[in-house]
């Protein structure tokens, strides 16, 4: 009887501390990074391999005028990406593809800070499934968009294959403004999603 009482107490304490059953969750925040206004690169390093998938969520505002809006993603500082995009600009739809790119070019995110009114931010969701696999190539999926209450808004779906990375596990992720610097209102958060 006494042994059972101690076991229940230990299980309760483990649940409260988050280190045992009942604590934590499958979707965990790994790190958050904010633009400095003086750099066009935001980097997540030392990404642990303990999750199944990664998700990046962010609001972004970049540099000089560029249309259609896009930004770059780079894994493990390697070059070599193939990309496909489906984009709508409020008036027309286009579908494009690129190969042998230095970075993964992702459409739609990053409001143009010289062309769009202050406080307008692009919204970005990036998914990388099975990022820690050492037997699979890595595919990137992105839904991103910026609306400016007028022309030159964009909503876009992008997919990219990290051809230069091969089957290496992802341990670093860079988000790069297509031009200029990320503003101080730019924030990206990296999340890890656990498998069962």
């Amino acid at each position: 009887m006494l042994g059972l009482w101690w076991a229940r107490l230990l299980n309760f304490l483990a649940a409260v501390s988050g280190n045992g059953a009942g604590g934590g969750g499958s979707f965990e925040s790994i790190a958050t990074a904010t633009g400095t206004g003086s750099s066009g690169t935001i980097t997540f390093t030392s990404i642990p391999s303990t999750y199944k998938h990664l998700q990046v969520r962010g609001i972004a505002r970049g540099g000089a005028s560029l249309a259609p809006l896009y930004f770059y993603l780079q894994l493990n500082s390697v070059s070599g990406y193939a990309c496909h995009h489906l984009r709508g600009n409020g008036a027309s739809v286009d579908a494009t593809a690129d190969t042998a790119r230095t970075y993964a070019e992702l459409a739609g995110g990053g409001a143009d800070s010289t062309f769009m009114a202050a406080n307008i931010m692009g919204g970005i969701i990036i998914d990388i499934h099975d990022y820690a696999s050492t037997t699979k190539n890595k595919t990137i999926r992105c839904l991103a968009g910026t609306d400016r209450n007028g022309s030159d808004g964009i909503i876009a779906l992008s997919s990219a294959l990290a051809t230069g990375l091969g089957t290496t596990a992802v341990n670093e992720l860079k988000l790069i403004a297509a031009s200029g610097n990320w503003t101080t209102s730019t924030t990206f958060a990296l999340y890890g999603i656990k498998g069962a």
């Binding site: 969750g25 919204g123 968009g145 924030t187 958060a189």
Partner: protein, 167 residues
């Protein structure tokens, strides 16, 4: 470890309603995610719309990308009284339409950006829709109202509000 992605509130309609509202939303998360499984009370072209903090002024806009099984199109709405989460998604009394919309940095000091997904297939018609919306306000969001453009949400419509907390 506190949960990073957790449900805040769920509404399941036991009778038809013209509006679903989430109120008193705490400012402790980073992003909000709303999932909707929608039936409406009549078959007609329906737009599901959202507003924030009771603001029905011309402070919303959106850019859309949509495919209906025959045509891919993009359109925009400017100076609107709400964000349309999808456009001309003909709804059904029996086949639900699924929406998810993400509200980024809802408690932050910039304008509020929304990424929305609308999905409906009725075995002969349907739509897949991706929308970016803008609410031109720097106020933190404490209330979200979701309405159909006409008619009511039908019994069984489910809406869940989630909060995502960054490190």
């Amino acid at each position: 470890m506190p949960a990073t992605y957790e449900p805040i509130a769920t509404t399941t309609l036991g009778s038809a309603a013209a509006n679903i509202q989430f109120s008193t939303i705490p400012g402790t998360y980073t992003d909000l995610v709303i999932t909707l499984v929608v039936n409406t009370t009549s078959v007609d072209a329906r737009i599901v719309r959202c507003t924030f903090n009771g603001d029905t002024g011309a402070n919303y806009s959106a850019t859309r990308l949509q495919g209906d099984g025959a045509v891919a199109a993009s359109s925009r709405s400017t100076g609107q009284a709400n964000i349309p989460l999808t456009l001309n998604a003909s709804t059904s009394t029996t086949i639900p339409t699924f929406y998810q919309f993400n509200v980024f940095s809802y408690a932050g000091s910039t304008f509020k950006t929304v990424l929305a997904m609308g999905n409906a297939d009725k075995n002969g018609s349907g739509v897949v829709d991706r929308t970016v919306g803008l609410w031109q306000s720097t106020s933190a969001i404490t209330t979200i109202n979701i309405t159909p453009s006409s008619g009511n949400f039908n019994t069984g419509t489910i809406a869940t509000l989630y909060g995502i907390k960054a490190a």
